[in-house]
Structures are given as C-alpha cells and as structure tokens.
C-alpha cells in the first residue's frame, strides 16, 4: 500500500492528541492548514467510506480515520461501560 500524505495525516491524528482535538472541533480548518491537495482535503472532509475509498486510503486505515473524523461514532465503540464489570 502506497503511504501517501493522506495516510500520514490519518496516522498523525492518532499519534497527536492535540491535532485530533483540533480536527474534531474544526476539521475544515485543520485540513486547510495542511499541505494536502485540494482533492485530498475534499475527500478527507467528506469522510464517508466511499470518499475514503476514492482517495485510495487503505481499508483498515479508514476505520481509525473515520473515528477521528466522527467522534460521535467513536463514542459508540467504547469499552468504558465494561470496565467496572470485569472479573
């Protein structure tokens, strides 16, 4: 899989919590400030799985990117409620 600048951007979102927080509150602003191409910015801002596939993003990278792009979805993929019920 070609690494690509958009893959690096997706990776940085999870490596850099401050960037992820900024992206959650202002995704268009964070993308605009990046060196990505206009087409890459458009598809990343769209953030749907078809858009990410059109971008050429690795299917498995689409998952963590999607969670960063959609924090409300990430809240549904949470282990927090189980923690007090472990043996």
């Amino acid at each position: 899989m070609r690494r690509g600048a958009f893959h690096d951007f997706a990776h940085r979102l999870w490596q850099e919590p401050d960037l992820r927080a900024a992206f959650a509150s202002d995704p268009a602003g964070v993308l605009e400030a990046s060196a990505l191409s206009e087409e890459e910015k458009r598809l990343l801002l769209d953030g749907s799985f078809p858009a990410l596939a059109e971008l050429g993003m690795h299917p498995l990278v689409q998952m963590p990117y999607s969670l960063a792009r959609n924090p409300q979805v990430a809240d549904q993929i949470s282990f927090r409620d189980y923690l007090d019920h472990l043996d």
């Binding site: 690494r3 893959h7 690795h58 299917p59 990278v61 809240d75 409620d81 472990l86």
Partner: protein, 275 residues
C-alpha cells in the same frame, strides 16, 4: 524449561454496552470466561497475539510479524480504554524474535509500541489488575500481501519451541490469539458476517485440524471471512503454540450491530510435551 500451559482464541472488541443486545452480553460473558480460564492456569506471562489497527503502524509497514520488547506497555487509549500500564518482558520478546528468525520466521522488534484494543481488552479480561506481564505479538493483516496462515502457524510452533527450549525453568506461558472472526472493514461488503466461515474456523481448531486452515490462501480468506477475517492468523499462531491439540468452543455469536462474527475457544495443551 518453560511451558505453554494454556492457549485461547477470542474476539478482541466490544462496542458500547447495550448496542449488541443479548448477543453482545453473551460475547462479554464468553470473553470473561476465557479470561477466568487463562487466570486459573496461574500464568507468569501472557503472550497476546493481535493485529495492529494502524494506530502504531503506517500504511506501508512491511513487517509481517513483530513483537514488543518494552518493559512497560502504555496502552494507546483507543476505544476509551484506560492508559494504565501493563508490565512487559523484554528478555522474552527479544529472545522470541531471535529464535523465530533462526526458524525462518521473521519477527521484527517493535520499539515504542503502544497496545490498542486488540491487546488491551484480552489482557484486561485475563488480568484486570495488570500484574501479569504481557508480550504483544503483532501480525500485519493490513500488509499486501498479508502473512500466510501457514506462516502464522510456523510462528506459533517457533513460539512453543522457544518457550520449551530457551526460557527459565517453570515459566508458565498462556497464549491468547485475538480478533476475527468474519468481518469486512472499509470495503463494500462492510456489515456482512459469514457464520459458515466462522464455524469452519472454530471447528477446525477445536477438532485439532489446523491444516484445514493453513491451506487457505488470502483470496479464500478475504472472500469468505473478509479483510477482518485475516485476523484468524492470530489464532493460528496460538494454535501452533498449542501443538495442534483440539479443544472446545467457549462462545460464538454473530453480532450484526457490531458487524462481526465473534467467537472464543480454548485449545487443550499438554504441559511440557507436544500434543
């Protein structure tokens, strides 16, 4: 010599509680049962085999398998998991990588690795106190091409060989292969589950027929189990370490809301000898 005293396969994800209905609760109960059984074996070390979900890896990561040699593992914190640390075992990890290399299975040392849900959830199920050292053994299911199931099996055999030949006397090791079963991620079929694929995996392993799975190529696995089904290679590492023994199914549920076929097995291991 040390010994493999337990071998388990289990799903490694749970979504928000309640969203999986009764099936989701049965999966949680099954995962806890796996954890209880692992804990009852009084392990000194948990080898947890998982894929990385691209929280650590870049998209072009070339290593097929890697092991974390960290003395302390600080979780990544995905899925709102706590970042409380787990002890590691640097010597075991480094020795395993070297031993596997001599057996012609490449295992990269993964410095700076931070465990994601694939390692942390099974680890918490087995030991919520985080007192038993863990060694994360990471497969690269996202590589093109992914490691072959047969290679995963050989890594498991090398792991057992290493434990029995090169680890301290009386070291008790439990191996947990995680992930799967059928699921499709980031592709058109996302949401599909294939219970037939899942049953084939569970039946092959619990009846001691791992050859049924090691013969599968990437095209068949992805077609029948999805790109997420490649995580079954983590179970094959575990099965190789168990020596090809049979076992029993602990739980299985196809959970549409969680877009995944989720199962767990225990493979019976004869301590100190090949099965």
């Amino acid at each position: 010599m040390g010994s493999i005293v337990g071998a388990f396969g289990t799903a490694h994800i749970l979504m928000k509680r309640g969203t999986g209905g009764d099936a989701g609760e049965r999966v949680f109960a099954g995962m806890k049962e796996i954890g209880r059984r692992a804990r009852a074996l009084r392990p000194d070390l948990l080898v947890i085999v998982s894929s990385d979900h691209f929280y650590n890896y870049h998209a072009d990561e070339a290593a097929g398998f890697a092991v974390s040699p960290a003395a302390i593992h600080v979780p990544f914190g995905d899925m709102q998991l706590p970042r409380d640390s787990f002890p590691g075992d640097s010597g075991f990890a480094r020795g395993l990588a070297a031993h596997a290399g001599r057996q012609h299975v490449d295992v990269k040392l993964l410095d700076g690795y931070r465990p994601d849900h694939g390692v942390v959830i099974p680890a918490l199920m087995a030991d919520k106190t985080r007192s038993i050292p863990i060694v994360p053994l990471i497969s690269n299911t996202g590589r093109t091409p992914p490691p072959a199931f047969a290679e995963a099996w050989r890594l498991g055999v090398a792991l057992r060989d290493y434990v029995e030949q090169a680890t301290p006397p009386d070291l008790r090791v439990v191996v947990i292969g995680t992930g799967g079963l059928s699921h499709w991620l980031g592709v058109e079929q996302m949401g599909r589950i294939n219970p037939d694929f899942d049953a084939a995996v569970l039946d092959a392993l619990t009846s001691g027929r791992p050859d049924d799975l090691t013969a599968w190529d990437e095209a068949r696995i992805v077609s029948e189990g999805g790109n997420g089904g490649l995580e079954v290679m983590n179970w094959l590492v575990m099965a190789g370490a168990a020596g090809g023994s049979g076992g029993e199914r602990v739980y299985y549920e196809a959970v549409p809301e969680w877009i995944t076929g989720m199962g767990g097995v225990e493979l019976f291991v004869n301590e100190g000898g090949m099965c």
